[in-house]
């Protein structure tokens, strides 16, 4: 059946090398927030176009392919400001775009998804890593391209266990998302046989991120904060709020490596990734944007490329046709990760290898060798089918 379809499409393509008709227009929206979330490290400050820059590159890639298929992709970007109505913004974008890439916090993404329910618009979550969006709060109109916290935590845990660094000192921040990341790390530790020897909380007492006399103080604070810990192999930090983790490497009381939110960090992408043909991608991105490519850029790129893949295979820009293909058994996308990426059919999460990076190099890529799975080794990362609480309807 599929073979016939492929053949049929190819004949169509071949028969019309010169296109007289107007190209098939495929509109993709991009919905995110204005402004950036500051990082502790100056070199890691996100650009204003973090994320959308990846989407733009994928639009170019899709349009290069589109030239041969008479398909044309456009990107419409909407940035929300404080107090903007998310449902209204999403609905307005959906008026002329069948697909919307989102970089939104979990609750806002749910509002957008529920506002568009029944409209046939397909949302692609490029920014939110919350497991609950794929579990109890899953929605049938959202594809998740961003990895989950549990996938990131599992990827890190597999490596630390492989390295025989099984005794962890877990330090978590005091904000909600830090606690969620700490939960994911605890789950990962118990899944893969690591032991959390002690947990500490780093309270965010506020204050400026950078001060003229800052480093001296940090140099005194961090050793004191980490002293008198039980014997441990690695300090694992959960600090999505960017309050303290980046201050830990080289400053712990005991000479121990740091992982998690600083040191060895699990991520979907990194500017240092150069395996599996990734250099071409990094070069294309650099040429277009004059900066390095971040994980968020890659997640948005992948989202737009998934749509390009589906529109070229189905020869259609109809959201339902495209969505059905993406959810079907024949979909896979290549994203410079050394293997095909596919969707988990139970919650529409993209399966993907996770890089472990130190800010300069890719140290390793998980899943690690030896972590086996009956379906896909990528399903050793994150919440698997038997444990899922998601019911798509």
């Amino acid at each position: 059946m599929i073979r016939w379809l492929v053949a049929a499409i190819c004949i169509c393509v071949a028969a019309t090398p010169v296109f007289a008709a107007d190209p098939l227009e495929i509109g993709i929206g991009y919905l995110g927030h204005a402004g950036i979330k500051a990082k502790l490290s100056l070199v890691e400050q996100p650009a204003e176009n973090d994320g959308v820059a990846g989407a733009q590159l994928a639009i170019e890639d899709n349009n290069t392919t589109g030239k041969f298929l008479n398909q044309h992709f456009t990107l419409e970007e909407v940035r929300l400001k404080e107090g903007d109505d998310i449902a209204k913004a999403a609905t307005a974008l959906a008026d002329h775009n069948g697909f919307i890439i989102t970089d939104l916090p979990a609750d806002e993404l749910l509002k957008a998804a529920d506002a568009l329910r029944g409209r046939g618009t397909v949302l692609l979550n490029a920014g939110a890593i919350d497991d609950r969006l794929r579990e109890t709060d899953c929605r049938a109109n959202i594809i998740h391209v961003a990895p989950t916290r549990s996938m990131l935590a599992d990827a890190l845990a597999q490596y630390l266990v492989w390295k025989q660094w099984k005794r962890w000192l877990l330090v978590a921040g005091s904000h909600d998302q830090d606690k969620l990341y700490a939960d994911a790390l605890r789950r990962a530790a118990s899944r893969f046989g690591a032991k959390i020897v002690q947990e500490r909380t780093f309270e965010d007492t506020g204050g400026a991120r950078r001060t003229d006399s800052g480093v001296t103080l940090i140099q005194r604070q961090m050793p004191v904060f980490t002293q008198a810990a039980p014997a441990y192999d690695v300090l694992v930090a959960a600090d999505e709020s960017e309050v303290f983790a980046s201050y830990l490497p080289y400053r712990t009381w005991d000479p121990r490596p740091v992982a998690g939110s600083a040191g060895l960090v699990p991520a979907s992408w990194d500017a240092a990734q150069d395996q599996w043909g990734a250099v071409q991608m990094q070069n294309r991105f650099m040429k277009l944007n004059s900066r390095h490519m971040t994980a968020l850029d890659m997640q948005a790129w992948t989202a737009v490329r998934m749509l390009g893949e589906a529109t070229s295979r189905t020869n259609s820009g109809d959201p339902k046709t495209v969505f059905d293909f993406l959810k079907g058994p024949d979909f896979s996308v290549a994203a410079f990760k050394g293997q095909r990426l596919t969707l988990r059919d139970w919650n529409l999460q993209l399966r993907q290898p996770i890089l472990l990076v130190d800010g300069r190099m890719v140290v390793s890529v998980s899943p690690q060798e030896g972590f086996l799975h009956q379906t896909s080794e990528l399903d050793t990362l994150g919440i698997d089918r038997p444990e899922t609480k998601c019911k798509l309807h």
Partner: protein, 323 residues
């Protein structure tokens, strides 16, 4: 710079080497920036030639006098003189050349430039660039039809085989294949074009006249997960009866019936097998194993691996001297 100093030394040491009647295979070592020369009589490496950065695509000129090797990180193709076994010149490709092919007369070279979405045409006699053809994202595989009329280029992110008219230099047809098409090979009689899809895990069989996929070859190896089966290089016997497909990190070569397209056998070779070349009489097939840094020799008739030869780091491409 230091290569310039090294070359005279090499030339001196080479004068002693005598050209035997054995066949010579040239292997590009992606990581060590060298080309290993293998003597197929003794099955030993007789020479290691220092080349530019990241050598991958490698091919003899039709007259057998030169070996061309794409050194991607230097954005050019180097020319090795097979007599002196040293780099004597370079050709102006576009950025990051990877694979290339030449017409039957050996006059025009077609180069896939991964970074630029173009195929570059080079006049081999004058060694000048003739022009570029725009293709899809990340052009890679290159093949020319036996009648010389059609050039095939595969683009890795666009997932197509582009059919290019060699006279008008226009793209005349595009055929969608599975993800990340890396290599294209025609049957000698021109009846079929095979394209391997590394991420898709398949080989598409295309009817070159109809520009349509007429069949797909899939691979299943017990105990190996589907993601590890990544078809790359393809080699077909002249009679079109038997094909060999390198399966990358599956560490195997699939032996495929050229007529029925059924997979007959899997031959275990080294780690991450990339590309291959037959000896001219098709008695042996040599395949490069990227991760294990060696070349496996397959007895084509017996369909058995008979030998392993250590080469440089991360061997990638291979080409065999014409008889």
């Amino acid at each position: 710079m230091w290569r310039d100093c090294l070359l005279p030394v090499m030339a001196v040491s080479l004068a002693a080497a005598s050209p035997a009647h054995a066949f010579m295979a040239y292997v590009s070592n992606e990581k060590s920036n060298t080309v290993s020369v293998i003597d197929t009589d003794s099955w030993t490496v007789t020479k290691t030639i220092k080349v530019g950065q990241r050598p991958r695509g490698i091919e003899f000129t039709r007259d057998g006098k030169f070996v061309l090797v794409a050194v991607g990180d230097d954005d050019k193709i180097e020319v090795i003189d097979t007599k002196t076994q040293q780099v004597v010149d370079s050709l102006p490709s576009g950025p990051d050349p990877e694979l290339f092919t030449q017409d039957a007369a050996g006059k025009t070279l077609y180069v896939a430039n991964e970074n630029d979405n173009t195929v570059t045409l080079i006049d081999l006699e004058k060694r000048v660039r003739l022009g570029d053809i725009q293709v899809g994202v990340e052009p890679e595989g290159m093949a020319i039809s036996p009648d010389g009329k059609i050039l095939i280029n595969t683009s890795e992110t666009t997932n197509m085989a582009h059919f290019i008219d060699t006279v008008s230099r226009q793209v005349v047809a595009n055929v969608l294949v599975d993800s990340r098409p890396r290599f294209a090979e025609f049957k000698r009689d021109g009846s079929e074009l095979w394209v391997s899809s590394e991420i898709g895990g398949t080989v598409s069989v295309i009817d070159p006249a109809k520009h349509a996929v007429t069949g797909k070859i899939t691979f299943e190896i017990p105990g190996l997960r589907r993601e590890a089966i990544q078809p790359v290089g393809i080699g077909m016997t002249k009679d079109g009866k038997t094909a060999f497909v390198a399966l990358g990190p599956a560490n195997r070569i699939a032996v495929v019936d050229g007529t029925s397209h059924a997979v007959k056998k899997y031959l275990l070779v080294g780690q991450r097998v990339w590309h291959m070349a037959f000896t001219p009489e098709e008695k042996y097939l040599l395949v490069t194993n990227g991760v294990s840094n060696d070349v496996s020799v397959i007895d084509v008739g017996a369909q058995k691996v008979i030998k392993t030869i250590q080469v440089g780091e991360l061997p990638w491409g291979i080409t065999m001297a014409p008889p």
